[in-house]
Structures are given as structure tokens and as C-alpha cells.
Symmetry: C2
Subunit: 403 residues, 2 copies
């Protein structure tokens, strides 16, 4: 970061910020919300290009947002003034009024993520004006990425691809899934991975990703990810469990692609020795589902159509029982990605999302086959206005040899 | 985990669970809450020893809790029945009524962590009965650890101490703070660190801990941790920033101690070469504040007294301007630790917490001195019924040599 930018709130530049605010205001207009106070890290980062502690006030009637920054904060420590320093949110209404803004209609708040207690407190600040839910507006605005966001995701895809290509170098004979994952984590971090794995939804937890091999792949997990795994401890029951990686046994690698605040999502299969004929067949089925769904990725297509096509292909191949899990099944085959790993659109049977140009979508048609483990790939795509989607995740899609 | 325990919900054993439920019911009685529905991962883990997707119904009138487990879930996949499988929380009231339980008073919910939208949904399930806030009850119950919890924390302390003693072996000349941290992350993970860093409060984020050296230590961060740092990216502005570790420059290491769902918190100072006389003095001041505060750690002592003592000692040493930061200051000198890194009691000037036997408290009297960087140690203590607290974090407290 340039020193001169260090204490500036908006790191996006005026045009890019206007583009994102425009999307948000469009959603607010559709929802009948005339103004909002945005507070969550993810949404503050979306609207300014940085995380700070405070609030962003967005109004349909104003071109620029107002910032309210809580002290102590890195943005106020050098005396370069953001719009307003506050110690507590109760100060906001008077500061707005001083600028001629009267809060006399329901204010939009992130009701799907802010705690109940915090919403009560913020609502009380505004004299018990009821609040409106700005969360769906933000999710929908963020689902359609700008060119600047796509550029960041392209960069993630390049770094993640580089890491995935180097993964065989960190494998050693006789390793457990956890030991292998630790070396992949290190590779990723050395390439610039920030580690933080932002995921929407209460109680979704995962550390740096998932490496699955053998029977562990068929251990269901309480988390709503595509794949499960027992994990190392009942306090975090997901992922690698200490299973030894055997010769000729497929290993699924799906690790954190956050290199700059945005993240791509990629899964690849690795193997020491030779995959069985069946394993190769299942992997080819996964890749062919990805290709078929990518061919359907055009603006206006219902997300549910993609899911149904994937399920149809799995069924036609006699693999429906193993599609997206075996002892338990995930209810989706893909999802938007961006600042969080699970954004809109959702590629699921009852999804009402319609694809739009600028959606960035991870497709992960995966199978869990008893005796083989978890098999499948995952790619991240950008939906184009015309023509084929751009693939951001480019590591080889066949079994990658570990020896 | 034993195979037979795999699908059992309560992994704590009947006695230990009864002990924890007893604490919670005591808090509920004091708050006038007769029954509650617990849903957050952290609290579900506290009450059962495992994370699952669902709800725990706790009533003052019942010895045992009821479990409502959402499908798909690892606990129901093998047909070993938990109390009740549900697909959605709307099914809970009828299931309770079938057992003769009528929800006719305010039900306790985790209002400080559940989203506003989720609380509205749960409240509607119970016919718009108002909800009561169970969050403070859970926080207070969890602040006083049982012997079984302390045993887990003791184990964390041993593992973390082992890792901290090995840290010099992973240092290489000319490394940056980030490169050093990545090797420490790997060391920790290989020793069994789960990685997941659970922190209470909206918008607290940190990946695996903080390694600070040089001027970066004086870069304030928007997060409410004891120390700051610019971080690698404006999307996660905290911690190591790529600063090169220079000879004779102190390096502060404060990394994740979660080895089993609980975590200890330890900070130590490392140096390649020789610390300056001033650096040694400041570190000795930090250690002597720890000793003085540990001497005060007895049941019945106000947490604020500990903070005031620390500030007094810093002031007497002429170091008040550098205490808990320099360009920005953290408002506390210690905090409870357990399943989350920031539990009760809070060791802060306006804290109303009173120490109790079984509190597990991390003390981190740290200084940021221009020209020297961040200096200080952090230890985790168990408050004893009688006598001195037990120290769980035992790595050497002087500068640990990297060469």
C-alpha cells in the first residue's frame, strides 16, 4: 500500500466505489430501502477495499457514503480525518442530522449477520425506527463482480494454480492426510495466501481447506460443505483425520485460495502410484459435468438447471448414490465465490438464482465411492456476457502423480 | 474417538456434563430464565464435548437436556438415534409438547451471537413468546472451568510450550516476519494444533496468531487485539507485514494454542543477536507485572484491580505511554481463555468481573517502544481456590536466542 493511502478510507478509487455503490443502491431501490448503515467486515471491505472498525452510511439520495470510524482505529491514529470519528454508534444520528440528514424511515441493517443484541442497540440509536434487512441487497450486489473484482480473482486463480502444480514436491511416502495438508498450507502461505477463510452463515468453520483420502472421505460432517471428513477433534469435525495416504489411493485436495481478500475455489486429485480404472472413470465424469455445466453458464439461465443437469449426468452414469457424498449428501453442486467462499448464486435444486454476467461460480461435482474415497474436481468460472465462461483455476484436471 | 462414541452426542460423560449444566442453570436462575435453546458451535461444544448441527434444550426443571439434531448430520447417519432429528427449528415446539413441555415463558436464546433474522425465526417458532438473553449466562458459566477443562488447557500449555521451545530451529537469517510465522504455523500444526482460532465478538479476525517485529509493531489495527500490525493486505489489517527480521531486533511471537478445542495463550520474545539494555529492561518489566498480577490472582479479587496494578507499575517505570501499544492502546491487560480466545473475566479498568477459582486468565502486559518494537510476554494462569495460580505456559521468559 502506498504510504499516502494508508489513512484514506476508500482504497477502491472513486469510479470503482461508485460502481459497487450503484449495484447496492439498485438492490436497495428494488427492496424499498432508502438508506442503510453497513457494519460487517466483509461488506465494509466490499465498499471501500479495506477492513475498518465502524460504519458506512449509504443513502439513495447521496452520491457519496459517509464513514463513521470507531476509535481506536488505524485510520484515525495519524490525524488524517475520515468523515467522522465516533466512540459508539449512539453518536451517529446527531452526526447525520448535523449534515441535514434525518432518519425518518426504516434504516437498512445487516439483519442476517448482525447479532440480535446489536440490532436492538442500533435500532434504539435511531429512536426505535424499525430496521430493514440490507443483507440480501448486499449479497445480490456482491454476486455480480466488477472487472476490478474479477482481476483480483484472476490473480487468486493464478497463484492457486501455481501452488497446486507444486503440491507433488511436498509429498513424502507414508504421510498422513494431515501431514500432507500442513505442507500444502505452508506452500500456499509462502505463495502469499492470507489464510483467513471467510465463510457466510452461522457456525461454518474450516481451517485452510480439506484434504481427504480413504474411508475418512465418507465420514459425514455437521458443516454444510460439499465434502465431510471426521477431522482431528470433535471440536472441529471436518476434514483430514490422520488417515495414512496409501499407494494407489486417491487424495482430494481443496485448499484456501484467498490471496488478496478474494478467493478462488479449486479441487484437484492427487495419487501416489496408479488410479484404478473406476477412479479414472469417476474423475472423468466429474470433469465432464464441469464442462457440461460450464457450457450452460450464460446470463439468464436458472442456477437450478445446472444442478439438475449435474444430477442427471450422475444418474445416467449410475452414480447418483455417490453424487455429492454417500453416507450424507450435500444439497448443491456449486456456489458463488468472492470475498466469502459461499456467495450467490447457489447451484442447487431449489435455487431461484438466475445466472448473470459477472457471477463468479465454483462448480464441484464430487463423488464419494466406498473403497475409493472422494473423487472429483472443482473449478471457478466467470460468467461472460457472451460466449464461454472464463476458467480461473487451471491446474491439470486428471490425477496428478505424487511420485 | 472410540468407534462406539462416534454417534453419541454427549462425549463428556454424565458427571462432567451435569457439572457444566449445573453452572449454566445457576446462571439462568440468577437471570430468571427457566429454559433455553442453545445453538452456537462454541456453546454446543461446551455442553456436549462435540460440535453438531442443531439445538440443545436446557430446562431448570429437567436434569437432562434434549437434543435436536439437524439432518444431514454425522450423528444421525448411522441410525443411532439422538433424541430427535429435525429438518428445521419449526419442528421443535411440537416435539417438546409431545414430551409434556409447554413453552409458556420467555425462552433463552444466544441473543449476543445469533443473528437478528435467526432470532426472529426462532421466536416465531414459539408463538411469538419473547426471548431472553442466554449469552451472558453461558459466558459466565464458561468463565469458571471444571477440572476436565483445566486438564485440556494444561495439555494445550504443554504442547504450546514444546512448540515455543522449538521455534529457534525454524529461523533462518534474513527471513521476513511472515516467513518466520509460516514456519511457526507449520511447527504448531505438526504438534497437533487444530488451527481454528475461535474468537468472540463480531468482526474479530486473525489467522493463527501474530508475529511482530520492527516498526510494524506500531501500526494500529482495527481489530480489538492487544497488539496490531499492518498485516499483508487491507482485507486483513493485522499482524506480520513482510518486515525483515533484523539482527538485534526483538521479535514477538503470539500464536494459536488450540490443540483440542480449548486454547492457551502465550507470547514470547525471540532475537537474533543481542537485545539492547532497554529491550531487556522492558521485557523484565513485563515479566514482573505478570508476577505481581499473578500474586493478586485469588478468588474475590476485582479484575479491575489487576489492570490498575499493571498500569501503575508501567507508570512507575515511566512506560505508561508505551503500555499496551503506542500509537494506539489496547484497553485491557488480560482476558479469560478457553474455547474462545477472549472469554471472561476481562482484565480491564472498567471490568466488573470478580476473580473466581477455576478462571483461566491470559495476562499480556506488553509495550510498543519506538525503535524497539513490541516487547512483552503473555502467560495463561489457572486461578486456584487457595494459594498461587497455576501457570500453564512454561517457555523461558527471557529473550530466546534465534542463533
Amino acid at each position: 500500500m502506498e504510504a499516502k493511502d494508508k489513512f484514506k478510507i476508500n482504497l477502491l478509487g472513486a469510479e470503482e466505489q461508485a460502481r459497487r455503490l450503484g449495484k447496492l443502491k439498485g438492490q436497495m431501490a428494488a427492496a424499498g430501502i432508502s438508506h442503510a448503515l453497513v457494519r460487517g467486515n466483509v461488506n465494509i471491505y466490499y465498499l471501500t477495499g479495506r477492513v475498518f472498525r465502524g460504519f458506512i452510511y449509504v443513502s439513495a439520495a447521496m452520491e457519496q457514503p459517509y464513514y463513521f470510524v470507531r476509535e481506536p482505529n488505524h485510520l484515525v491514529s495519524d490525524g488524517v480525518a475520515p468523515d467522522s470519528h465516533i466512540r459508539k454508534p449512539e453518536e451517529i444520528p446527531a452526526l447525520l442530522e448535523a449534515r441535514g440528514i434525518k432518519v425518518d424511515s426504516a434504516i437498512g441493517l445487516e439483519l442476517d449477520t448482525l447479532s440480535y443484541s446489536e440490532v436492538l442497540r442500533l435500532t434504539a440509536c435511531f429512536g426505535q425506527q424499525p430496521s430493514a434487512n440490507i443483507s440480501p441487497c448486499l449479497r445480490r450486489a456482491r454476486a455480480v463482480k466488477t472487472d476490478a473484482e474479477i482481476a483480483k480473482l484472476r490473480c487468486d486463480g493464478e497463484k492457486q494454480t501455481l501452488v497446486y502444480e507444486r503440491i507433488p514436491h511436498c509429498f513424502r511416502d507414508g504421510m498422513s492426510d494431515v501431514e500432507f495438508q500442513i505442507e500444502i498450507e505452508r506452500l500456499s502461505r509462502l505463495e502469499g495466501c492470507l489464510g483467513q477463510f471467510r465463510v457466510a452463515g452461522p457456525d461454518m468453520e474450516l481451517f485452510m481447506g480439506n484434504v481427504l483420502t480413504g474411508r475418512n472421505a465418507d465420514t459425514p460432517s455437521p458443516y454444510d460443505f460439499a465434502m465431510g471428513g471426521e477431522g482431528l477433534d470433535p471440536s472441529l469435525p471436518v476434514g483430514a483425520s490422520g488417515e495414512i495416504i496409501h499407494e494407489n489411493a486417491p487424495v482430494m485436495v481443496d485448499v484456501n485460495g484467498n490471496y488478496n481478500g478474494y478467493m478462488t475455489d479449486m479441487t484437484r486429485m492427487y495419487i501416489e502410484g496408479e488410479p484404478s480404472v473406476k477412479a479414472v472413470e469417476v474423475l472423468e465424469l466429474s470433469a465432464s459435468i464441469c464442462r457440461a455445466l460450464a457450457d450452460m453458464m450464460h446470463p439468464g439461465v436458472p442456477a437450478a438447471d445446472l444442478y439438475n443437469k449435474a444430477l442427471q449426468m450422475a444418474t445416467d452414469a449410475g452414480m447418483a448414490d455417490f453424487f455429492m457424498g454417500h453416507r450424507s449428501h450435500a444439497g448443491f453442486v456449486g456456489h458463488g465465490v468472492g470475498i466469502e467462499i459461499n456467495e450467490l448464486p447457489v447451484i442447487a435444486p431449489r435455487s431461484r438464482d438466475i445466472l448473470a454476467a459477472g457471477n463468479v461460480i465454483a462448480l464441484e461435482p464430487k463423488f464419494v465411492v466406498p473403497g475409493l474415497g472422494a473423487i472429483g474436481i472443482e473449478n471457478t468460472y466467470v460468467v461472460a456476457a457472451d460466449g464461454a465462461p472464463e476458467v480461473l483455476t487451471k491446474a491439470p484436471e486428471n490425477f496428478i502423480r505424487l511420485d
